[in-house]
Amino acid sequence: MDLKLLLDWRLHLMVIVTSMFAEWIGIVRIPLGPGTLLLLPLLYAFIIGVLFNPHLFSVMGKVIPKPVSNAAGPIILIAILPFIAKFGSTIGPAIEQIIAAGPALILQELGNLGTMLIALPFAVLVLKMGREAIGATYSIAREPNIAIISDRYGLRSPEGIGIMGVYVVGTMFGTLYFALMAGYIASLDILDIRALAMACGVGSGSMVAACSAALAEAVPGSRDELLAFAGASNLLTYATGLYISLFIALPVTEWMYKRLKGSRQEVRHENP
């Protein structure tokens, strides 16, 4: 890719103006039933970016020409890296808490693999999705998971479309859905409430907050304990979740996808 396009001032100025505007709008909380719909600046930035995309509205080619828009693709890979560095810096200082948190916290990360056991077969066999299903179901599609897909396949690949779709859905409805689901499952009284608190930690910050708040509402007596468990679990998700999704979840998803696709193709061969 031409360096001139990668460093095109119109692109970067557009991103700066967009980001500052999105940050200025700030976090918007919309109360909805028992939970809260939480809108973050990165969601507005994405929407504004799409609105100025010359491939969607050709008149925008006057602001950002198409070749410049194409150059933005590889830039995403690089732009996510400072965020990853910032993110790692929240883990280092808390290393003692993480070690003290114990094996239950570490092993519950493996529960994330539950993601693909339900969602992947449904996506491939019922919805007949292609490789988007890999990006969509290998993880819960938060920022570190996006970084992995971006690094391995690129965000403009089918896998990238899959994870960005789940990411956008998660950003828009994830907080609400987590709050509703956690409150409901807690009311069923099947699983230990502390286990539910740890499970809250799998999401992004706003999901964790809504999820553990919903649990605390359900069992007001143990509020502090539940928030601590959810917080520690969330820290671990960020600390170890990256490696679990990279070394276990993604290869397993690829393998299961091939299996599921393979069985479908055999059926097709039998009935031509």
């Binding site: 692109l11 557009m14 980001s19 830039i75 400072p82």
Partner: protein, 164 residues
């Protein structure tokens, strides 16, 4: 015989390989500087003024470069994100020299403000092919997303329940 579609995919794969950040360190260093400037300005609104955030942004820049260089020279493959996060974790561990100063400078950089420009680039980078792909699979992705959230939550809760 090649179809048009697979030709495009092949081009993408080659372009991606060429543009793997660690394979073109010189180019990457320049582009990284540009995206850091975007993040630096984005941080002004809810983070800190430009001058106060400057050391923190520079630390992030250096961490990324170190991670990329290690990724480049390391004999086995690990994605650059893994290297960068590892560098950042090590540099902020309690026993790492100067960790207090590093953490204090990084506190001037807002967590969410750094990721806002990334999504702005992503929105601008989508091509016509992706828009049509999303139009076709959009509603499916909503169903899949809700299944993903349910599966992850219940999976984690069951494992934690057994371990407690």
């Amino acid at each position: 015989m090649k179809t048009h579609e697979s030709g495009v995919d092949q081009f993408d794969a080659e372009a991606l390989k060429e543009l793997r950040p660690e394979n073109q360190l010189g180019k990457t260093a320049l582009v990284l500087a540009a995206v850091c400037v975007s993040a630096w300005f984005s941080n002004v609104v809810n983070g800190s003024p430009l001058l106060e955030a400057l050391p923190g942004m520079l630390i992030l820049y250096v961490m990324v470069i170190i991670g990329l260089v290690i990724g480049r020279v390391c004999p086995f493959y690990l994605p650059s994100v893994a290297w960068v996060s590892l560098i950042s974790i090590i540099a902020t561990l309690p026993f790492f020299p100067g960790n207090g100063w590093i953490i204090a400078r990084l506190a001037e950089v807002d967590f969410l403000a750094v990721v806002t420009p990334v999504l702005a680039y992503a929105g601008l980078a989508l091509t016509g092919r992706e828009f049509s792909m999303f139009k076709q699979t959009g509603w499916k992705l909503v169903i899949v997303a809700l299944l993903v959230f349910t599966g992850t939550f219940i999976g984690s809760a069951v494992v934690a329940h057994v371990m407690l």
